[in-house]
Symmetry: C2
Subunit: 540 residues, 2 copies
């Protein structure tokens, strides 16, 4: 029925051939498929191996086949993959929501490790993939690549897909792994922006110390400015809502302002060539720590679920899109002549992704463990294996970067470019489906104690209940937050003894209580509302 309906749509489209009606047809198809993915994903909820992303990928590929057959082999997609659509509209809500709902304590406790993994790890992975590709590709008859192309391939396949990470790891079951792998994915983005800028602007034929230092300086500048922009945007939203709306709250204005200011932070970062992903991630963290506590109870429920829903829909859309785009006939024309070469290229890339990730996860985990004195804080070998495995997936970010590098001049007419595009798609599909499917079983095999909670927290798994965990458990002194007293209460005493970075936390809390919260609001700002999600899960 779907096929015949779609056939009549295409006929109709052919008769009319107006551009706006064509876009109406593709919007119809996409929205209908999104609904289908949600319903099928829900029906397959009991099945632990399949999640919404894999459903969307499979539905996308199937739809691509149907379109290919209906249109007589002309094309498989309704929309050409657009970087703009991906980076401007789909990615921001996903990353913002991740920052908004992340367990802040866990994230900041592992901040150094996350930075190590995200920055140094990405560089190591990129170096290994680049040198491996240079080694192997010269033996295959592919075409000519220069050093910039090789480095770009390294950067493309070092980009861990944060969106996939959100799907395969559960923040409530494995908080440490989640924060490490996901945090790495966010920092990874800043590293890849720097890498890409470096590849396109620096003269890479003779690298020396000066360029390397410039590179590192550039990274820290980018990291710092992007983070600050996000923090400033978050604090500004908190300040505006606290100052203007005091005593006369309006849910719609509050929600609209939070949404628009979060988006503004992302798009401002993009305007100034910063890392929008880092910016909007930190904006989300600041908003959940301050702004979210300044708004009405309805606004809190609405923002929490509306942001999660937008993120959820954007994720499914991306996977559907990648799946549908994967079958574009033009790209596969070159490949069909030499299938062996293409399989070899894809296999080499998957192998290098595995090696490149192993080459930094295990040594950097060792380094990180050396710095920690408490044995419960260390990353066990089994956890290291899961970190290695869970970050292997490559997703829409890789596809977008590959298009940027290899499909700019003409539409993949060059053989080498076409092979790189198809190989990227193959790696993305393979890693998402195979590595993605095997992550949950692997976690259950290596960490059997977390198994029993899987089915219990499932129904709400895409809205992590992280609001109850502030940067520091300071809910008790919500009535006295103006005093600036820094004495630890009993419930945080244990944490102060066991956390190595306790002094940082301690001073941050003092600063937060004395200066930040009187100015920007935050927990305890609005009067106590019985039955609110914050209060329900506050420490007794």
């Amino acid at each position: 029925m779907m096929a015949s309906q779609f056939g009549s749509m295409l006929t109709r489209l052919g008769n009319l051939s107006t551009s706006d009606h064509a876009s109406v047809v593709s919007i119809n198809l996409f929205v209908a498929l999104l609904c289908g993915c949600i319903v099928i994903g829900h029906l397959l909820e009991e099945n632990r191996w399949v999640n919404e992303s894999i459903t969307a990928l499979v539905i996308g590929v199937c739809t691509g086949v149907v379109i290919l057959l209906t249109s007589g082999g002309r094309s498989s997609h309704l929309l050409v993959f657009s970087e703009d659509l991906f980076f401007i509209y789909l990615l921001p809500p996903i990353i913002f929501n991740a920052g908004f709902q992340v367990k802040k304590k866990q994230f900041f406790r592992n901040f150094i490790t996350i930075m190590l993994f995200g920055a140094v790890g990405t560089l190591i992975s990129c170096g290994i993939i680049t040198s491996g590709v240079m080694q192997f590709f010269s033996k295959l008859d592919i075409g000519s690549f220069d050093i910039g192309d090789y480095l770009a391939i390294g950067a493309i396949f070092s980009a861990t897909d944060s969106v996939c990470t959100l799907q395969v790891l559960n923040q409530d079951e494995t908080p440490l792994l989640y924060s490490l792998v996901f945090g790495e994915g966010v920092v990874n983005d800043a590293a890849s922006v720097v890498l890409f800028n470096a590849i396109q602007s620096f003269d890479l034929t003779h690298t020396n110390l000066r360029i390397a230092l410039q590179f590192i300086g550039n990274f820290f500048y980018l990291f710092f400015t992007s983070t600050m922009l996000g923090v400033v945007a978050g604090l500004l939203s908190a300040y505006i809502i606290k100052t203007l709306y005091f005593g006369r709250h309006s849910t719609d204005r509050e929600v609209a302002l939070m949404m628009l200011m979060a988006y503004l932070s992302y798009i401002l970062a993009e305007l100034f060539y910063l890392s929008g992903i880092l910016t909007v991630f930190f904006c989300g963290i600041v908003m959940s720590h301050y702004t979210w506590h300044n708004v009405t109870e309805s606004s809190r429920v609405t923002t929490k679920h509306a942001f999660a829903t937008l993120s959820f829909v954007a994720e499914i859309f991306i996977f559907l899109y990648v799946g549908m785009d994967a079958l574009d006939i033009e790209k596969w024309r070159f490949v069909s002549k030499t299938p062996g070469t293409s399989v070899a290229v894809s296999s080499i890339l998957i192998g290098l992704v595995l090696v490149g990730r192993a080459a930094f996860v295990f040594p950097l985990s060792f380094l990180s463990n050396l710095a920690k004195k408490n044995p419960t804080e260390k990353i066990t070998f089994r956890q290291q294996v899961i970190i290695w495995w869970a970050g292997l997936m490559r997703g829409a970010v890789s596809v977008a970067l590959a298009y940027n590098q290899f499909a700019r001049s003409g539409h993949t007419q060059l053989r080498s470019n076409a092979i790189m595009i198809t190989s990227t798609i193959t790696v993305v599909l393979f890693s998402t489906v195979v590595f993605g499917l095997m992550t949950q079983p692997l976690i259950r095999f290596l960490l059997p104690h977390s198994k029993n909670t899987t089915s219990m927290v499932y129904s709400d798994s895409s809205t992590p209940k992280s609001f109850a965990v502030p940067l520091l458990e300071s809910a008790q002194n919500s009535d006295a937050d103006m005093g600036g007293h820094g004495f630890p209460r009993p419930s945080s005493l244990r944490m102060l003894l066991t956390t190595p970075s306790r002094s940082v936390h301690h001073y941050w809390r003092k600063f937060d209580d004395a200066i930040m919260r009187p100015m920007f609001g935050g927990r305890g700002f609005v009067p106590f509302v019985p039955g609110s999600p914050t209060e329900r899960s506050a420490p007794q």
Copy 2:
């Protein structure tokens, strides 16, 4: 600071001249201006004459001036006015939200009057404006228009702006006027779609009875199919959520499904050349009657506020856009040569709009009053004046239709087309600002008893609390809704005696209880949750 920042942006834009960075710049500007409109609108909240739409219009015009000066008189807008953007992305959330939050009882009680106003009224108004324009324009030196152009002008200026209506009338203060003027605006859309199709497809040089009958048949077919599509989409969403999600609710999936299915109904209607506005309006009504009661408490709060927020942002965006587009220099070039003609054309049009609306509001109100036996149900003369006045505003719909008719071939190079475009903008700006500003004072002057509540309900005025009013007050028998009993309870007895169409309501309620609600859920489907918005305001 704004201007200098913007100047540097433009310089930067000139240096780079990449298309994606240009879109990033305009998105930045739009999002920043939207935030500004919300904050300024909030600050001016005490001022009863100004609302967010007028703020947005003024800010849009000011920004247009700044861009015009910065770019050295080249252009005043960052985005070209796009019908697609307006009809595909901005209008659906506004109309859906209006249907979702409309007072259903009030709407259906006045259904016949609304249909009269929307269908017959639009035709009368269009006829008067067309004949008036044909009379007067021949005396002015404007250029050549054919009969199709004259009819199009009639249709363009008969399109009451539903978005403006939502802003100037308050559902809680003047429910009858709100439902009449807003309902008329929704039906008006179906009428104008038919009018436009008729103008473009029929041979209008010799009209006869057959064509007129075909025209009327076409209208009823379009009205019926559009409504049915919306109702079916709403019922489908209720059925899916009731069947699949029973016992294991997931807020994000529910919210996503409601949002996507509502949008799907709109875009499907557009696909089949129906009236998407009618479809999505009825989809909103059905969703609020059935689907909304089948979801979790969190989903209810989220959908209520998320839909209202999306609608709110889309409204501001439209006004900002129209304001910014109003100063496009190319269109005003012809006008500056002959300012007198342009002023004359705009004045004639405003006069005809006033006359055309008066010509159907008063006679049709008289007809409607004849049919009603109960004097409290009749529309008083004062109310008629307000209905006449509140529906005078012309908005983005008129602009979109004018662009469709007069800016298709080339970019308003023809003098007559340029004059029509600028006159439309003048009429829209004038009617929105002048008629819009004077509606509230007029209501307070003519209906003084509703004055005292204005400031009380203000802070939440864009989220009408209409969920407590179902199609019929049947909250009491929520536990026994499967029984199909049709005996009226005390609280609805008064209504049954006073409502002329009580038998229709009575049978509808029987049908709803016996067949619809067991199948599609609705009020009383999920267990009682203390403190829910439904329960709080349910009749005691």
